[in-house]
């Protein structure tokens, strides 16, 4: 589904990714872990098409199609979703209106009519219940005055609405208390199917207790230096990253 080959990228002439290779197949959950500054968020931004980063070398394929030259919205229309670490506040635009706009823009790009209002409402109700969101929450301005947990829950709500092929969750666990973490993880698990895939980017192992990965990759200094199964995450939790560094020398 998602295939990254020898990806090198930089921001303002500083090379951050130094040759990333990653294969994510439909139905899989991958976790990318690593210390601060390793390039985790850069990787997710680049997959989603953030124009502040320059891809110097390498390719990104989505279902066989090279997407690294596409605009962020075009990638979104093809099924790439990024849950932001810091979602942006948009005063005056409600959660409902924002997601309506997002869904209908995506449909427009595919040559479809707007989603009928009753269908939209039904879907909003269904997905907001999945994430245990209050009705009042839906009419609030997007992310304005939201707590950290509410912001993340809203990100996963949007993911549920947009039904992406590949969802990248960037530090979705940061700023969440244990209840919010459980709700968010539960939501992700329910949305998971054999037709989509999830990449969880995290600093800590905590979230992986709830969203169990098939593969764990360690990203250090712009490269994936080690891959393994879920047990690798536990080992990292216990021993930190230094032993991997030592192994590399």
């Amino acid at each position: 589904m998602l295939s990254i080959k020898n990806l090198h990228a930089s921001v303002e002439d500083k090379e951050i990714l130094k040759g990333i290779n990653l294969e994510v197949k439909a139905g899989e959950v991958h976790a990318i872990m690593g210390p601060n500054g390793a390039g985790k968020s850069t990787l997710s931004s680049i997959i989603a098409g953030n124009e502040n980063y320059e891809v110097n070398e390498g390719e990104i394929f989505l279902d066989g199609e090279e997407i690294s030259e596409l605009a962020p919205e075009e990638r979104a229309h093809k099924g790439v979703f990024l849950s932001f670490q810091y979602p942006v506040e948009i005063p005056g635009v409600s959660v409902t209106n924002f997601i309506k706009t997002a869904i209908n823009e995506s449909r427009k790009a595919k040559g479809l009519e707007d989603m009928p209002a009753n269908e939209m409402l039904k879907k909003i109700r269904e997905k907001s219940e999945l994430l245990e969101m209050d009705k009042k929450f839906l009419s609030r301005s997007l992310n304005e005055g939201f707590s950290g947990g509410e912001k993340k829950r809203n990100e996963i709500f949007q993911m549920a609405m947009l039904e992406p092929k590949i969802a990248i969750l960037d530090e979705t666990d940061s700023g969440l208390d244990i209840d919010a973490l459980r709700i968010v993880a539960n939501g992700v698990n329910k949305l998971k199917s054999q037709d989509n895939a999830v990449v969880v980017i995290t600093h800590y192992q905590r979230l992986l207790d709830y969203i169990v990965p098939d593969f764990v990759h360690v990203l250090m200094d712009g490269k994936i230096v080690k891959s393994g199964d879920a047990s690798l995450a536990l080992e990292l939790e216990e021993k930190g990253y230094d032993w991997i560094k030592a192994e590399l020398v």
Partner: protein, 438 residues
């Protein structure tokens, strides 16, 4: 002959129609003398440093339209807030259109300034209010005073609430090759009285128009006034709006100015406090492009203790558009415990667009709370990326962001249909159709 000379010689013919011994004639004479001395403002004056009238004044404006013009309602319906019932005062090329208007004398007066200027029964109103708060030394205001003939006269007596909003609309038909109009409005809102007013200037074709408008508003004790100005005129329209507001104790006046069009727009908005515990609000949204120019020149004169003023102006400038915000807050020595707040945020969406922003605080009292903030920036790139990531294309994402940026001001519009209308104009202005009513 330049426009100034033309106006001065027109005045001589104009004044012959009036009673030379009247109070009004004296007022006009003084006014024209002041205009004659000062002339049109130039960029040499500090208050006009960033706005030039030179190119505009080169047009050969007719000062008095030769024809009476009529318009079909259907042709101009869209300029009215037609979703709701309103009182209407409609002027076509400076002349009252009874056909398009809906006036009243029942309980409140929604009628014409010409009556106040000419009918003996209004003599006390004329002498007490007309030209009393307008600045007599300001040349463009003087010019209007000298020629003032028509406009809105609104009088809401003590404890009355206007049962529906009042629309004041000035159309120009373009029958003249170039037209100068000088509407004059007088609005008196009595003790405890309440009124909502919407004012609009609209050209119906592309012949140049210069509007030099003066509005005087008197808000008595505990009066409550909401005034909305919609400035979304065609590219060849020029507007100088001089608004003077006198507030008595505990009154509340809010003026919202929405500037989305026209070639040149200058808003001189002046608040004068004449009592304690007054609340003044000045808000505006400016969204312009091309070579449009909008200049907000505000003054809040705090003269009494315990009063508040709130200013919030948002500006979005594209193409080669230019904006000016000059906000003056004057706090006299007596005006202790003043709470004056001023905010002006601007976004430049093109490299050629400019904004000149100048807060001016003159404070002579020692126990006051005055703050001002001014920002000039570009659209937030991380917010753009966020929206694009959700599948919203650049153009729509930009529009949503600009809407969000203006939202604080939009939210304080008290007439829901007007709020909808403004958001629609913004969406049109930004060239997007949203999947929902913004």
């Amino acid at each position: 002959m330049d426009l100034k000379d033309k106006l001065l010689s027109s005045y001589i013919a104009f004044e012959e129609k009036f009673d030379m011994d009247s109070h009004l004639h004296d007022v006009r004479n003084q006014a024209i003398k002041n205009f004659e001395t000062k002339g049109f403002p130039t960029k040499k004056e500090e208050a006009w440093k960033y706005t030039s009238l030179n190119a505009i004044l080169k047009h050969d404006f007719s000062v008095f339209p030769k024809h009476e013009n009529a318009i079909e309602f259907a042709a101009v319906k869209k300029y009215f807030l037609h979703e709701i019932d309103t009182y209407k005062l409609v002027f076509i090329d400076g002349k009252f259109s009874s056909f398009l208007s809906s006036t009243t004398h029942e309980g409140i007066d929604v009628c014409l300034l010409s009556s106040v200027l000419t009918k003996p029964k209004y003599k006390p109103v004329l002498e007490t209010y007309f030209n009393q708060i307008a600045q007599k030394n300001e040349s463009l205001t003087s010019l209007n005073t000298a020629f003032a003939q028509e406009g809105a006269f609104i009088n809401i007596p003590k404890s009355k609430v206007a049962d529906k909003p009042i629309e004041i609309i000035n159309f120009s038909t373009g029958t003249e090759a170039a037209l100068m109009v000088q509407p004059r409005n007088l609005i008196i809102v009595g003790e405890n009285a309440h009124v909502q007013i919407i004012e609009r200037h609209q050209s119906l074709n592309s012949n140049p128009v210069l509007t030099n408008s003066v509005t005087e508003i008197f808000a008595q004790k505990r009066a409550n006034v909401d005034y909305y100005k919609i400035q979304n005129d065609v590219q060849t329209a020029n507007l100088i709006d001089n608004t003077y507001i006198a507030q008595k104790q505990e009154s509340r006046v809010a003026v919202h100015t929405f500037s989305f069009g026209g070639n040149m727009t200058r808003n001189n908005l002046n608040f004068y406090h004449q009592g304690e515990r007054i609340d003044s609000t000045l808000k505006g949204i400016t969204i312009i492009g091309d070579k449009q120019h909008v200049d907000h020149f505000t003054l809040v004169h705090h003269a009494q203790p315990n009063c508040e003023s709130h200013q919030n102006y948002k500006g979005i400038f594209g193409d080669s558009a230019t904006g000016v915000f000059n906000g003056k807050i004057y706090v006299e020595k007596e005006a202790q415990k003043t709470d004056a707040f001023q905010q002006n945020n601007n976004i430049l969406i093109s490299e050629k667009a400019t904004i000149n922003a100048k807060p001016q605080l003159e404070i002579f009292a020692d126990d006051v709370k005055c703050s001002h903030g001014c920002t000039i920036g570009q659209l937030d790139e991380s917010a753009m990326f966020y929206m694009q990531q959700r599948g919203i294309p650049k153009k729509e994402a930009r529009a949503l962001l600009m809407y969000a940026f203006s939202n604080e001001v939009i939210e304080s519009i008290k007439i829901p249909e007007l709020k909808q209308r403004i958001t629609k104009i913004i969406a049109t202005k930004l060239g997007v159709k949203m999947g929902f009513d913004l």
